[in-house]
Amino acid sequence: MPRYSIGIDLGTTNCAVSYFDLGEADGRREQTMLAIPQLTAVGTVEARPLLPSFLYLPNEQEFPAGGLGLPWDSQRSGTVVGEFARTHGSQVPMRLVASAKSWLCHSGVDRSSAILPWQAPADVRRVSPLEASARYLTHLREAWDHQFPDAPLATQDVVLTVPASFDAAARDLTRRAAEQAGLPQLTLLEEPQAAFYAWCEAMGAGFRKQVRPGDVVLVVDVGGGTCDFSLIAVTDRAGEVELTRVAVGDHILLGGDNMDLALAHAVHARLTAAGKKLDAWQFNALTFACRQAKERLYEDPKLTRAPLVVPGRGSALVGGTLKADLERSELEQLLTEGFFPRTTATDRPQTARRTGLAQIALPYAQDPAVTRHLAGFLTRQARALAEAHEAPLDVRGQAFVHPTAVLFNGGVFRASPLKQRVLEVLNDWLAADGAQPAKELGGAELDLAVARGAAYYGWVRQGHGLRIRGGTARAYYVGVETPMPAVPGVSPPVKALCVAPFGMEEGTQADVPPQEFGLVVGEPTRFRFFASSLRREDRVGTLLESATDADDLEELAPLETTLPATANNAGELVPVNLQAAVTEVGTLELRCLEQGGAGQWKLELNVRMKD
């Protein structure tokens, strides 16, 4: 019997661990964040509530022996995770792995091969996005086991959070990273849901006073590196309140780090204009100083400016230090207007045209306006919900989905003017569409809510609280090639066969009825694989005429399987049917079932290639 329910927030820029003693669940009100020992300098270990998600791959001679030791391994060498990796790595970027999580859901690259640090010189050892994630989880597991030797993490009830926008492949990779980190048993939970659970726990019994059947809660989660939206509907079923996660947004690489950078660039431009030059080290220091100045200005609304000081790099401090001021007007101009402009509900995020020679890199959001991304999300989902017959939400007459309440999450919203702006913009849209204004669900924790909510979810899962239903936030399809005479230059059209419908619940499976596929024994068979976050109506077996032309389908990494050959059946064709299952972990699994036989083969997501 596990003693603890443990929530792990494996963030793009920071990780956090919260835990919940299942034995005394009712008494849990105090902060129960795991203090994570980590290197903060050579030979210096500090325990902090956040573990920066950075991995540094040092040169062999770079640090003295014993300088990278951890409390549980004084002779550790080879890799550095956490605060020191972040601060030192910013000065040696070619050896620093950052944003591994964003790479994990980037289907344009091979996510299981050693590609990070991206574009590092040849002599630097590299790791895969999968391995980097596994390293962070390993550090967390070791930190936990060091503190709780009687209750090793692998034997506890572990809930790991993923962005709601993570597709089946990214979820599966996350599960594999956990497995590599020695955590074979766990459950995945979407981050905005975790934030909502944390809020429910913080509210306690007062929860039912704040949300009622008919409410639609919009979760806006803006973390360090990503923006994640979810809609949760509150409904009434036979007198019982029910929560359903109705829709999730796309993966948007845009977050608080972009905001700090925007400030630093603006101040840098001013300093340069005044004839002062900053090197890369000083620019980092400037970015850090901007973040702190930003926090001070947001904390104290009476301040009109906050001083920024950037020390010189040499030992001469006096005289070598640059000073600038961050004005409140600048903050409002760059952050409030730049990232949260007043837009209309019909505005869409701008996408820059990709040039032919565009580098493969992380697909950062081209448009920094969070409000435009939000408008796009609510409008798209309103259209998708209007087409669905049994939608959990009635969106008739709505140009976009009308939220009645907003839950904010992520460190960015410690700045209340930014929360205020999002609410104002949303309420302007609602007023223009003839609806009541949405209210803010107060009392959210912002920074640590995801980890705490995940730990609380472990308790909820044992039947103690209200659970959010929802199932998969996408429908999944495999590509079926249509037979046609070969024509040079024309590839045969690909139809999309729905194998897992929208909203498929954990622990359920679905057989794909009549379609028959042939697997060649001993040879790899590949299926093209698609997903849609908008097609709510398709049932298992629905066949879409053209997979490649549909703009609501997104192609994922292909699926692959190889039937092991025996002595005399190599090259034979085995007829199979497909079966989809959503595991208890929360990942999607596709299997081939031999027709009229007992054979069963798992289709693996091939993250290596996407044609």
Partner: protein, 182 residues
């Protein structure tokens, strides 16, 4: 030092030899030089080995704290610099760096509370049996407690210490490494 096995000298004879050696070493430099060589390196090294543990080892935590204040707040850079030639504005800008960084070390590593809760300038009574470590009496210290007085400085007490730990494998004398950019 012969090839024949040594026979034990009587005590008085040994005293005689010792005194003679003492005298010869004192008056003849050449004898002293040879005697030292004969006694071996042990004599020369003796003062070092017999000395106490070097101060950088016993004071390692203090050096570590100094290193922290340098890393976060550039304290050593600031104190080692000759500030006579700079104007107050320049010193002030550097002081902000020192203040912000060193303050971070204090707030994260220590929980600081005043020794007496009253604000400076208030009238206070120092009871009998007061803690002489926490309260220092100045001025007209006469008679016996309880004393009446004015609080001039509320004092500081670290009620909790959670400073980072440092690996014993590292030389505590290195407060900040030299940085070489390649």
């Amino acid at each position: 030092m012969g090839n024949t096995p040594p026979s034990n000298l009587p005590f008085l004879a040994r005293v005689g030899v010792a005194l003679r050696c003492f005298w010869l070493a004192l008056t003849r430099p050449e004898f002293a030089r040879q005697a030292r060589a004969w006694l071996g390196a042990g004599v020369a090294a003796a003062p070092a080995t017999s000395a106490a543990v070097p101060p950088e080892t016993t004071q390692a935590p203090a050096l570590h704290l100094l290193g922290l204040l340098q890393r976060e707040g550039r304290l050593i850079d600031f104190l080692q610099e000759d500030i006579a030639g700079f104007d107050d504005a320049e010193v002030g800008v550097a002081a902000r760096v020192v203040h912000a960084g060193c303050r971070r070390v204090l707030t994260e590593g220590l929980t600081l509370e005043p020794a007496l809760r009253e604000p400076d300038g208030t009238a206070v009574t120092v009871p009998a049996g007061f803690d002489a470590q926490r309260i220092r009496l100045t001025g007209n210290v006469a008679g016996s407690p309880p004393f009446r007085g004015v609080l001039r400085h509320h004092g500081w007490v670290a009620t909790a210490v959670q400073l980072p730990t440092r690996s014993p494998a590292l030389d505590p004398r290195v407060l900040a490494p030299a940085e070489v950019e390649l």
